[in-house]
Symmetry: C2
Subunit: 183 residues, 2 copies
Amino acid sequence: MKLDTRLFSFTGGSRGQYRVTSQATLKGEPLPTVTHLDVVQGEATGETFVLRGVTSNLRYTTAFESAALRAIQAAPGRTAATCAALIPIRKSARWWDMPQDERRAIFEEQSRHTTIGMRYLPAIARRLHHCRDLPGEAFDFLTWFDFAPADAPAFDALLAALRQTKEWSYIDREIEYRLVREA
Amino acid sequence: MKLDTRLFSFTGGSRGQYRVTSQATLKGEPLPTVTHLDVVQGEATGETFVLRGVTSNLRYTTAFESAALRAIQAAPGRTAATCAALIPIRKSARWWDMPQDERRAIFEEQSRHTTIGMRYLPAIARRLHHCRDLPGEAFDFLTWFDFAPADAPAFDALLAALRQTKEWSYIDREIEYRLVREA
């Protein structure tokens, strides 16, 4: 897929398709407070800030895991999924300095990242954007989720489970926007 | 490491620190012919073209392989290494659509990419730059090599060995610049 179709911009300001219902800084420096957020495919300018990320190839997922995920996951954008969340995170240099097999072992064999996410499919849809290697970006990943209002407790449980893992001890900046679609 | 220090620009034109001794298109679209090339840390503008890439975390290398490489490899830039090469490559969608374990198996268990490279250490120094996820870039990787003139036959052998691997069947664009340092 052409890179132009893989690049997404998340813009924060006083208007946008999504209204911010809460903005929490879990670790590290906060971002400016905004009331609205927009999701734009491609480049965009933001009133208060813009965060950019690129969907890319799988970095840890095995063939078996990939097939299992594809069999049940949903893509973001379902009409009923009026609740959404944007979670920008950054991982420490200690994480990135590890070789592939050590990061994989912490990600899945120890932290069960994919296994935990599987439990909430297809209710919680997810799209991961990479930005560690993008010039000018402060985060490593932007994860976008959407779900129906009735699935908000399940989403809370998903976040709580992930944040207790060993993998999360390598996260040194994390911000959480909870959103409601208005348009 | 800050991203600004991980970004490298390779500029092609009629002047630069490196003189182009040969430019070959092995697969896919060629690049414009140039007589000189420069390597710049950070952003740069090029007279004829500029290729940008970012050094990043290891994508396939295990802890054992990483320790073995670190024990013997040299960094580019040695005074005696007056010969250099820049090899921009792109891999097919078929490659990128594979999950991590299948790409790893082709990369090392079947193609012996790291094992082949090890044979030529420390004579051939190498730095890999990623650009698949960089907006505006046409290649997936830019690999930079340097070596002393006496090691040019070893470098030829390294390229010949890699180009016979299964991994290389997934490469759909490859260009090779052979260079001599003038400054």
